[in-house]
């Protein structure tokens, strides 16, 4: 059999090496040239994150509990859920995870806000134009399937270890659901109702804010919910690039075979996840009370 049929026709070793080298050096050059500027760009984000984290860590735990309970009550109006939230956080504190949980809470809140602030407008743009949808969908596919460590490398090269690269990595990983479900929700809004809005002379703004978004809300809320869940799971992995919080005890537990520590930290992550999930879903449902009648 001829050799070219047996051997896969690949680039020769030298060429491959020099290509990798060129890419690495090119990126390193980019990082050297613009790294500082990009870091400065993210300074306000870092500032907000540090401020929020300090606030949560500095405040008396009782006050935090009251605030969390109040938020749960306002969002869902359910005694059962509010009690569940309080019990979850009391247990977290009792098992010595309070400070790490507060750090994680801070970064999750910031990441979710960023993801919503970027994701919903992108979803709206996708719903408004088939071409935008065709362009954005493959990007989302890549964001969801590319192994996390692959994009952690360039982010760390650019910004070093710390909170900001952590936030960026988490947002990249967690943003696709809110974008996809905003797009889907808007596209599923009843055409008859939209035609009625047009017939009454609604401007595109009135149509979007008054009809499309409210009717797409269940899907958008499901997207936000998924985004929070994905952010929580990513925050553990982000501890590898220096994000403090519940990920660090997990990392320590893995490297030192501390089974109990891993269990406590993992339990705290699960408790946070359940609290976030039930609260955001309950809130979404309450916004849609007309559907249940």
């Amino acid at each position: 059999m001829p050799e070219w049929l047996v051997e896969f026709p690949k680039m020769d070793r030298d060429a491959l090496r020099s290509l990798s080298k060129a890419i690495d050096e090119g990126y390193r050059g980019f990082s050297r040239a613009y790294g500082q500027g990009i870091e400065d760009f993210f300074d306000p984000l870092l500032f907000a994150l540090v401020w929020f984290e300090k606030l949560l860590l500095g405040a008396p735990w009782l006050l935090i509990l009251v605030i969390l309970g109040t938020i749960a009550w306002i969002a869902v109006r359910s005694l059962k859920l509010t009690a569940g939230v309080l019990i979850a956080f009391l247990a977290i504190g009792y098992f010595g995870m309070w400070d790490d949980t507060m750090r994680t809470l801070a970064i999750i809140c910031v990441c979710t806000l960023i993801a919503i602030a970027i994701g919903i407008p992108v979803g709206i743009a996708m719903a408004g134009s088939d071409r935008t949808q065709a362009l954005v969908t493959p990007v989302l596919d890549v964001m969801q399937t590319l192994p996390i460590f692959v994009y952690l490398i360039p982010v760390v090269m650019l910004l070093g270890l710390g909170k900001v690269p952590g936030v960026i990595a988490v947002v990249i990983y967690a943003i696709p659901p809110v974008i996809r479900l905003t797009n889907l929700g808007l596209r599923l809004v009843d055409k008859d109702v939209l035609e009625a809005a047009d017939a009454f002379g609604a401007s595109s703004r009135q149509r979007l804010l008054g009809v499309q978004l409210p009717l797409a809300l269940p899907n958008i809320m499901a997207g936000v919910n998924q985004t929070i869940m994905m952010a929580l799971s990513m925050v553990v992995i982000a501890s590898m690039i220096g994000v403090k919080g519940l990920g660090q005890p997990v990392l320590r537990a893995v490297t030192n075979q501390y089974f109990a520590l891993g269990l406590f930290a993992g339990g705290a992550v699960v408790a946070l996840a359940i609290v976030f999930d039930r609260t955001s879903q309950g809130y979404g449902k309450r916004l849609q009370k007309f559907r249940e009648l």
Binding site: D192, V193, E195, D198, G201, A202, G210, L215, Q288, F290
Partner: protein, 347 residues
């Protein structure tokens, strides 16, 4: 305001609508007389409307009727430009609405033309009062004046106590009453009704029809009413246009349509309707001042005339006008014949 040239409130001139990738190219073929089937099979375009010329008078209910796919819903959506024509003109009060830019079109939709939909198309996340006031909210009116107008309409359509309910909690008939109130709340000149009662039970449909006619006596809107139901068309329409495959078959008063169908298709449509309740004595009487028997007013429907003659055991009656003067005669056997055999009526 100066008188406009045309009497018509809405004038549609040479309107063509072709759906497909390249409507402009197919337009010449359609104008050359190519039919719907050939257009679709050989050119991949849907000829929805083919050369519609129609004048709609102010303050009356003009019914556009046809089977599904006849283009009636497409036609009505041209009047507020939810659909843009491929060719032709549409005038309201003599002004060419196709030349309207964004602001003028928005104003037309917000203040002058309102629409009622077959499947109600209420906003599920707004309650009854908010649905009715939707057009006013779009116009930017204050909350207080919106609430006042909504309250007035809720009373008018008999939904007292339902203001805070959501559409999902209402029956179909109630929903469509809200739909009607929503359209009328902006005080439009023109009301477009796209099969408004087709999704309702027959009994409710009758109630809604009565309600519409009652409101119309008071409001005098120009109403374009789409239906596929001839009984409904005859009940509400002061003029009826019959549409088939995107072209007009006949336009006329209800009696004209029934007595003088323009072709077999229209005749087939009208075959099963109740002539006794629709036709009036004046349409089939023998003219002349020498009638005998009991007096029968010229605008009596045949059913009532037959009953009046039977009650007095007469075989003919004297037809009188509003002032009581004899203007003709009517025979009972003629009435029965017309009711029983459609073809006789035309002679």
């Amino acid at each position: 305001m100066p008188e406009t040239k045309s009497e018509a409130k809405i004038a549609i001139k040479g309107l063509y609508k072709i759906f497909g990738p390249d409507p402009a190219a197919s337009l010449a073929l359609a104008k050359g007389g190519m039919g719907r089937g050939e257009m679709l099979d050989n050119h991949g375009h849907v000829l929805a409307l083919a050369g519609i010329d129609l004048e709609i008078a102010a303050g009356a209910i003009h019914v556009v009727m046809g089977l599904s796919g006849s283009g009636k819903s497409t036609l009505v959506r041209h009047i507020n430009r939810l659909i843009e024509p491929t060719a032709g003109g549409i005038e309201i009060d003599g002004a060419d609405i196709l030349s309207f830019d964004g602001a003028a079109l928005t104003d037309l939709r917000r203040r002058r033309v309102a629409m009622v939909f077959q499947r109600f198309a209420l906003f599920p996340h707004r309650n009854v009062a908010e649905n009715i006031a939707y057009g006013l909210a779009i116009q930017g009116l204050s909350k207080a004046s919106r609430a006042e107008t909504a309250a007035r309409w809720i009373k008018r359509i008999g939904l007292d106590g339902f203001a805070g309910l959501y559409p999902g909690q209402l029956s179909g008939g109630m929903q469509q009453r809200v739909g009607l109130a929503r359209a009328l709340a902006t005080e439009p000149e023109i009301l477009l009704m796209d099969e408004p009662f087709s999704a309702l039970d027959p009994l409710i449909r009758g109630d809604m029809r009565d309600m519409l006619l009652e409101l119309q006596v008071e409001l005098n809107k120009t109403i374009v009413f789409i239906t596929h139901d001839l009984d409904e068309a005859l009940a509400v329409g002061s003029r009826i246009t019959i549409l088939r495959q995107g072209a007009i078959e006949q336009t006329g008063a209800p009696q004209d349509i029934v007595l003088n169908p323009a072709n077999d298709h229209v005749a087939a449509f009208t075959r099963d309707i109740n002539r006794g309740r629709l036709l009036r004595v004046s349409a089939i009487m023998t003219t002349g001042a020498n009638g005998e028997g009991p007096d029968i007013a010229a605008d009596t429907v045949l059913e009532d005339a037959a009953h009046a003659l039977a009650a007095t055991a007469s075989d003919q009656g004297r037809v009188v006008d509003g002032a009581g003067a004899g203007i003709g005669s009517i025979r009972l056997d003629r009435i029965l014949d017309v009711i029983a055999h459609p073809a006789v009526a035309a002679n």
